[in-house]
Subunit: 146 residues, 2 copies
DNA sequence: CTTGATGCAAAATATTTGCATGCTC
DNA sequence: GAGCATGCAAATATTTTGCATCAAG
C-alpha cells in the first residue's frame, strides 16, 4: 500500500500541474480517505471530517468539489452501490474489484489476474480504448448466511 | 430475445404470486422497457411514456415504484453510470455485461464465458452466495477515437 | 367490496451553484 | 496582489411519502 507521504506528494504534483491550489481542506479530505480506507459517500466523509477536525469547519460543497476533482485526477475513484449512491475510495491503490454483501453491506476487495486479462481482450475485440473497468459481485457473505 | 407476450405473462405471474395487481400503468412501463431496449433513467422512461401514451397520464412516482418492483422481481435490472444515476433495462435477457463509451455514451453489451466462470470461482473462494454480478468496461469506442 | 395502486403535491435527499470573502502562490 | 478555493445559503435535481381517490381482483 502506498504511504501517506507519497500519496500527498502525488496529489500536490497533480495540483501543481493543473495550476490548482493545495489547501488545508484538500489535504484533510485526502487524509480522511487514506485513514478510513473503506468506501464512503460524500456525506459520510463530511461527517467524519466534522468529527475528526471540527475546527476546520469543512463545508459539504467543498467535499463534493474535492472528491470530483480527485476522481478526475485519478486520486480517488467512486463506485455506485444500488440505493446508497456513490461511494469514494482512494484511486491509487492497486486495481481491484469488489464483493458486496447485500445483507450487511460488507465490501471485500479482490484482484484476479484472469479477469484483468480477459477484460483487456474484450476491450480489444470491440475496438475500445479501455480507461477503466469495474466488476461487482453481489451476494450474501458467509456470516450473513449463518 | 424473449417475446413481449412471454414477458408479459411472466410479469403477470410474478404479480399474482405476490398478490399484487396488474394495472395499465405497469403494463405500459413494461412495454416501454421492451420497446426502447436501451438503458433509461426513471425520468427518461417517464418522459417516453408521456409522449407515447399521453392519455395514460402516468406519474413519476408510479414509474419509480414500478421500476423498483420490477427490479426486485428480476423483471428489470439497473446499472449505475457515474454521474447520470441509475438506468434500467429488462432483466430477463440473457445475462451480459457492458462496455460504455465515455465520449458518446454508447453502451455495448457483451457476454463472456470466461468471465462468467471466473466470477463463480471467485465467489466460491470467498464463500459468497452470489446473487448477481456486473462488469463495466469504460473507455472510448472506435468512432470517438477517430 | 376489499385492498392494493395511482396521481398529486409535499417532503426528504442529494448535489450543484452564486457570491462575498479568505488563502495560496 | 491576482486568482483560485471556501463556506454558506439558495437553487436544482432526484427520489420517496402521505393521502384521497380509483380500480383490479
Amino acid at each position: 500500500m502506498i504511504t501517506y507521504d507519497k500519496l500527498l506528494a502525488q496529489f500536490k504534483k497533480i495540483l501543481k500541474h493543473k495550476r490548482l491550489k493545495f489547501t488545508k481542506q484538500r489535504e484533510l479530505i485526502l487524509k480522511c480517505l487514506y485513514e478510513n480506507d473503506a468506501h464512503h459517500t460524500p456525506e459520510e466523509i463530511h461527517r467524519l471530517l466534522k468529527i475528526q477536525y471540527p475546527e476546520a469547519g469543512i463545508g459539504i460543497a467543498t467535499v463534493y468539489r474535492t472528491l470530483a476533482l480527485m476522481e478526475e485526477s485519478g486520486i480517488a475513484s467512486s463506485i455506485s452501490f444500488g440505493v446508497q449512491g456513490k461511494k469514494y475510495e482512494l484511486g491509487l491503490k492497486k486495481h481491484h474489484d469488489h464483493l458486496i454483501c447485500t445483507a450487511c453491506g460488507k465490501i471485500i476487495e479482490f484482484f484476479d489476474e484472469t479477469i484483468e486479462r480477459r477484460q483487456e481482450e474484450i476491450a480489444r475485440a470491440f475496438d475500445f480504448a479501455m480507461s477503466d473497468h469495474t466488476m461487482k459481485i453481489v451476494g450474501l457473505c458467509s456470516d450473513c448466511r449463518k
